[in-house]
């Protein structure tokens, strides 16, 4: 009898855990971060950026990779606010610290971890995510499996640290246990025919997956430490999509 009771309890507990894994308890846990995300804000569950969760970014070429780094830096800047500290973990670091200040991140508040062995990489990201004193952990990996990503997501949920996982040139788009999947690609400068030269960074932000939210695609530019929506001549429908999303 006792064992039957234990089993029932266990099942009940597991059910509760599964629910929490599916993001049911999200609302109470996720705090509001700065409103700098502009148009994208509406896509999130209850209009709040999911903090304390894993975000997955996918990039397939150098241009996308650089745009993704910029976007992640901007997000990290919002998460760190004035006094946060961010950990940037990767194998082959190309990020140029002085450039982070363009995206609202004080470069001296970022601690770079240059991992030498691939088998240490995920361990280090996880260890970083468990440290509650950090505001965000940015990890650059190539491949990650579902199980490994779930470990990271659990670490995020326990510590309430936000993880930004950048998958550079993954072999396959296998699903991972992250609340969002983003893809950021650069956009050419347009609409300034009278002005020569290159304008603000412009990105096509695609939110491919979001748990309990509304996936969508936005064309934004990074202007004055904020993301601002842009409407280009060839895609007038983007604005509506944004409204709908």
């Amino acid at each position: 009898m006792e064992t039957a009771n234990d089993k029932n309890e266990l099942v009940a507990r597991l059910r509760a855990q599964i629910l929490s894994l599916q993001g049911v308890r999200v609302a109470s846990h996720h705090k509001q971060i700065g409103t700098g995300l502009g148009p994208i804000q509406a896509a999130f569950p209850q209009g709040a950026f999911p903090v304390g969760a894993m975000h997955e970014f996918i990039s397939t070429d150098q241009g996308q990779s650089a745009a993704t780094s910029g976007f992640m830096a901007a997000l990290a800047g919002f998460l760190m606010k004035q006094d946060g500290i961010c950990l940037w973990v990767g194998m082959h670091r190309t990020v140029f610290p002085p450039a982070l200040s363009f995206f609202g991140v004080a470069p001296e508040r970022v601690i770079f971890i240059d991992v030498k062995k691939e088998r240490d990489l995920l361990w280090m990201i996880e260890e970083g995510l468990r440290c509650q004193a950090l505001s965000a952990v940015i990890g650059q990996v190539q491949e990650i499996g579902l199980t490994a990503s779930r470990r990271l997501q659990l670490a995020c949920e326990q510590s309430n640290v936000t993880g930004l996982l950048h998958r550079i040139n993954p072999r396959s788009m296998n699903p991972v246990a992250a609340v969002c999947r983003w893809q950021i690609s650069p956009l050419p400068t347009e609409g300034q025919a009278e002005l020569p030269g290159i304008g603000h960074p412009r990105w096509n932000v695609q939110l491919l997956k979001i748990r309990n939210g509304h996936p969508g695609s936005w064309q934004v530019q990074w202007d004055n430490q904020n993301l601002k929506s842009i409407r280009t001549q060839d895609s007038p429908g983007k604005g509506q999509l944004l409204q709908a999303g």
């Binding site: 780094s69 140029f96 470069p107 001296e108 650069p186 050419p188 290159i198």
Partner: protein
């Protein structure tokens, strides 16, 4: 009451040579080395000494005395090396052993002798073991280093000077036994002072006038009125804990329990004294006589058992217990006061945050090596490779603000990579460039921004940087090295990617 043992090796280097080359045993040979254009004897074997060959003789004279004499080149540093090794060996008798150049050791045997069943047995054991390993050796014990030294080298039969009886032991000895300089000794012999008892009762003022303060100091040291310095080869760790085991330990959980106990002992002591460790070594002595050690470092003074244990936890699998570990020793060689050093980082209000991050970095470093974590501060250089400075510590703050007046790429290549360009107009950005087999057609460009080499650091050509955008919107940082010349076309490089 302090007790010191002086050990004297009358034939240190020659004994060593006999050990290495057994065929020399029982023969006459000398160790000699060139000095002022002559080859001078530095040490002579007992047989050679019996024939009247002494230290300081010219080797040619010695050969004349004994034609069969073998002259071997002397290694000037050998004695010190040997003494160091021997002193380490004597650590089994006392934790405090010092070398006494050129031919002796000094042990601080205070409180150690009862473990061998008394002073006589202690001394006998040392002498027997050293003799057994092939060294001619004499040893003596007294309350002061100087008295032990004198009795060891000049005493007739007495080996142990009873506590407080230094004066009686010294009386019949010659003045040389006081380690005086040769000029003073000569003067004493001239005056007929062949034994210490002839002058030891004289008034100090008289002795000082005749022989100087040095004699009084030496006498005082021998009698115990004046303190004599003692420099042990292995200074004791002020923070060290030992944990002997009844049964040898061979499993990881066993090691963990031992470690936990040791850390608790160490940390409770550290907390009491307001200190924190920066480096901790765990030494595991195995029953087969081998020793295994693991070491951890922390980036700030820490006395937290949990944190230190976590750092060691990563290293426990690397300890090979083999047949078992019988003794664990935990040493903290680097200790710092635990001040209020923690509140400066990043001006974060909560000191806890600082500690947590430092602990995290310690764990990462413990796993993958010291040079994985970097933090950067601005440096006042325009040259992109030099415009960041690695922060020395977590506390360091930027001295100057980060510059944002010029565009800088979010990704910078480690080394600029060569690209092929088609640039029809000099001093204009190129029309297109090819990098890694891909052609990028440039639609927009900013620049140039000329960055010169800083001549006081490095000579070289300047770079003209352009920010360019291709048709897909990807933005690059490319530069031309040097000027357009008549004969050669300048080279172009890609150096980074903008977001």
């Amino acid at each position: 009451m302090a007790r010191y043992v002086s050990i004297w090796f009358p034939h240190l280097t020659t004994d060593r040579l006999v050990l290495k080359r057994p065929e020399l045993a029982g023969t006459s040979f000398v160790l000699a080395s060139p000095s002022r254009g002559r080859v001078v004897v530095k040490a002579a074997s007992p047989q050679a000494q019996a024939s009247g060959i002494v230290e300081g003789m010219v080797a040619a004279d010695a050969r004349a005395v004994l034609p069969s004499l073998e002259v071997i080149e002397d290694d000037a540093e050998l004695a010190e090396k040997l003494l160091n090794a021997l002193a380490k060996w004597t650590l089994r008798y006392t934790p405090l052993a010092a070398i006494d150049l050129d031919d002796g050791l000094i042990l601080d045997a205070t409180g150690c002798t009862h473990l061998w069943g008394g002073e006589m047995a202690y001394l006998k054991d040392i002498v027997a073991r050293l003799k057994g390993s092939g060294y001619d050796v004499r040893a003596a014990m007294a309350d002061t280093i100087a008295a032990a030294w004198a009795v060891c080298r000049f005493g007739k039969s007495q080996r142990i000077v009873a506590p407080g009886a230094q004066l009686d032991a010294l009386l019949p000895l010659p003045p040389t036994a006081l380690r005086l300089d040769p000029i003073t000794v000569d003067k004493m012999y001239k005056l007929g002072f062949y034994q210490i008892k002839s002058f030891v009762y004289m008034a100090p003022s008289v002795l000082r006038r005749r022989f100087g303060q040095a004699l009084l100091d030496r006498l005082g040291q021998a009698l115990g009125h004046v303190h004599e310095g003692f420099a042990p080869i292995h200074p004791p760790e002020p923070f060290a804990e030992r944990l002997p085991c009844l049964e040898p330990i061979r499993t990881a959980p066993g090691i963990e329990i031992a470690l936990q106990k040791l850390l608790e002992m160490l940390c409770s002591r550290l907390v009491k004294e307001g200190q924190g460790v920066r480096k901790v070594i765990l030494k595991c002595y195995r029953i087969d006589g081998e020793m295994r050690q693991v070491e951890i470092g922390t980036s700030f003074a820490s006395c937290s058992t949990g944190h230190l244990f976590k750092l060691f936890e990563l290293k426990i699998p690397t300890i090979e217990p083999a047949l078992g570990i019988e003794l664990f020793v935990l040493e903290a060689p680097v200790v710092e006061p635990l001040g209020e050093q923690q509140d400066q980082l990043f001006n974060v209000g909560a000191a806890n945050k600082w500690v947590e991050i430092a602990e995290l970095l310690d764990r990462l470093v413990a796993r993958a090596g010291p040079d994985i974590s970097h933090r950067y501060l601005p440096a006042q250089h325009y040259w992109p490779e030099r415009c960041t400075l690695e922060a020395a510590s977590l506390k360091e703050q930027p001295q100057t603000p980060w510059r944002t007046d010029r565009p800088r790429p979010v990704h910078l290549l480690q080394e600029p990579q060569k690209v092929e360009v088609s640039a029809p107009v000099p001093d204009y950005p190129p029309m297109l460039f090819r990098y890694q087999g891909e052609v990028h057609k440039i639609t927009r460009a900013d620049g140039p921004e000329r960055i010169e080499q800083e001549w006081w650091i490095q000579q070289g050509l300047h770079r003209d940087y352009y920010t360019v955008e291709d048709e897909s919107g990807a933005r690059f940082w490319i530069f031309r090295l040097g000027h357009y010349q008549d004969d050669n076309k300048p080279e172009w490089f890609i150096h980074g990617y903008f977001a």
